[in-house]
């Protein structure tokens, strides 16, 4: 009896427990790959894509669209407002879409003179934004509280529409913006210090998907217009008349403008 209780029962219990095997560890193909990019490199790549997308949207869609009588509004999602998203709201739409994806990428837009007071930089971000205003170079830091690698990139007044809208906005906190001014900065966050090739592509894809999702939401909004004239959606741009490109045409143009820089990084790593 003593032998049974002291040796056989514990050994048997361990054998039974061990023979069950554990819960399989989650190791995705991406996580198992070789880390080839520092997080700073990846965030620079996706920030570049964002620059191109934002400039194209602001100049060609908002700037060009306004000339054709199309409306853009911060309350574009309200039921009684028939308008498209202003560039800052477009970026927020992209950021929301990214957060819904499995990619743990965070994207935010802020300024020292925001239209919405809640978007004003504070603390560490405010300090680093001062440096960005001086030299327009990216700033990187590790956010200890959230354990996230964080990068800030300059956001310039790259189109006339940025300047006029911000200067004329009823709630603006600064009304002498000029073309080329540092209007704000985008903040990006990612939890790992280095990424595999697949993880990097996933980050870039999640941004591209965010662009398509938000642009599609705008096209859906147009579809529901009751009083305003609906632009024709196809392969033409507002520069040619009351037209808007489809999401595919818009994304294709983004890719043509940004692909060289991004591909250079990706191919070099391969």
């Amino acid at each position: 009896m003593k032998t049974i209780t002291k040796i056989i029962v514990p050994v048997l219990s361990i054998c039974i427990l061990y023979s069950c095997g554990g819960v399989p560890e989650e190791k995705t193909a991406a996580a198992g790959g070789k880390k080839v990019f520092a997080v700073e490199e990846v965030l620079e790549m996706v920030a570049k894509e964002n620059d191109v997308t934002r400039t194209l949207y602001t100049k060609a869609i908002v700037g060009g669209g306004k000339k054709q009588g199309m409306k853009f509004d911060e309350d574009w999602r309200k039921d009684d407002v028939e308008a498209g998203p202003l560039p800052a709201l477009f970026l927020r739409g992209v950021a929301t879409s990214i957060r819904k994806s499995p990619v743990p990428l965070g994207l935010y837009l802020g300024s020292d003179f925001p239209v919405n007071a809640a978007n004003k930089f504070e603390g560490k971000q405010a300090d680093l934004f001062k440096k960005i205003k001086e030299d327009q170079k990216p700033q990187f830091f590790y956010d200890d509280d959230q354990k996230l690698h964080t990068a800030m990139f300059v956001d310039l007044a790259s189109a006339g529409a940025c300047v006029t809208c911000h200067n004329e906005h009823p709630q603006t906190s600064k009304s002498d913006w000029k073309l080329g001014d540092v209007m704000g900065a985008t903040t990006w966050q990612y939890p790992k210090d280095s990424l595999t090739y697949k993880e990097t592509v996933a980050v870039l894809n999640s941004y591209a998907k965010g662009t398509v999702d938000t642009y599609m939401a705008y096209l859906d909004e147009i579809e529901a217009f009751k009083e305003s004239e609906k632009p024709e959606i196809g392969d033409k741009w507002p520069a040619e008349g009351k037209y808007l490109p489809t999401a595919e045409v818009f994304l294709d143009s983004v890719r043509k403008l940004s692909s060289y820089e991004t591909m250079k990084h990706l191919v070099a790593a391969k």
Binding site: V23, P24, A117, E122, Q125
Partner: protein
């Protein structure tokens, strides 16, 4: 093979009864029909029809595997521990039914570093800070002055309110925010222009406790029911 000492007979019998009772209770309380008895208290408003699994999904593996994995983790033979019994409930569980593009205060926005101080006072990165479950109510936040954490500098151009927002903030009348604005902006609601016409606090409190919706019944977004949520899962496969 087993010889029980006469002196330990009662102890042995007690052990056997305990084992049988334990196994029976485990079996009975894990049946779908007994969910109501296992729940720590009634569900919040709108969640009455949810089954436990809607939030408490089974953890991966069986119980023995989970025990083995966690022991391995404790001894350093495995990188990650695993959930035991059921998976942890996270913001993502809530968002599967409640996520929508027009949310004025989506949880993810508060992950930005500049909200670091604000979330020390009210952690808006997670739903349960204000909507703690199993309390048979709608909103569980203790103090409704939370707007003060981000909107101290608010100025409204051409302020339509008879007592301006700046004056209200100067008076620290933070409870008045909720009398006009629902936090998530989900109601199509004509905001009053006179403070005297705003929703009385008693009605707001009753709404928080699960009562009638004082902002009206016209909502921009209706959360998914359990059936609709299950369909989204099915469609994503």
């Amino acid at each position: 093979m087993f010889k029980v000492s006469p002196l330990r007979k009662r102890q042995f019998l007690g052990g056997i009864i305990g084992l049988v009772l334990g196994v029976s209770l485990f079996y009975i309380l894990t049946l779908d029909a007994t969910e109501g008895y296992v729940s720590i208290s009634p569900m919040n408003t709108g969640h009455n029809e949810l089954s436990c699994f809607a939030c408490h999904a089974d953890a991966k593996g069986n119980l023995m595997q989970q025990v083995q994995s966690n022991i391995s983790h404790a001894f350093g033979a495995r990188d990650e521990s695993v959930d035991f019994g059921t998976q942890d409930v996270t913001v993502n569980n809530c968002l599967q039914c409640h996520d929508r593009p027009n949310d004025r205060h989506p949880t993810y926005r508060f992950s930005e570093p500049r909200f670091k101080d604000a979330i020390k006072h009210i952690d808006a990165t997670t739903c349960i800070t204000c909507h703690s479950e199993h309390h048979e109510e709608r909103v569980s936040v203790e103090n409704i002055n939370y707007c003060m954490n981000c909107h101290q500098d608010l100025k409204v151009e051409n302020d339509p309110l008879d007592i301006s927002h700046v004056q209200l903030i100067a008076k620290k009348a933070w409870n008045t925010c909720i009398q006009c604005h629902d936090f998530h902006g989900n109601h199509t609601y004509q905001v009053p222009e006179h403070l005297s016409d705003t929703i009385p606090m008693q009605k707001i409190q009753a709404y928080f406790e699960g009562g009638e919706d004082p902002y009206g019944m016209v909502k921009k977004y209706i959360a998914l029911s359990q059936e609709e949520w299950l369909k989204t899962i099915e469609n994503s496969k």
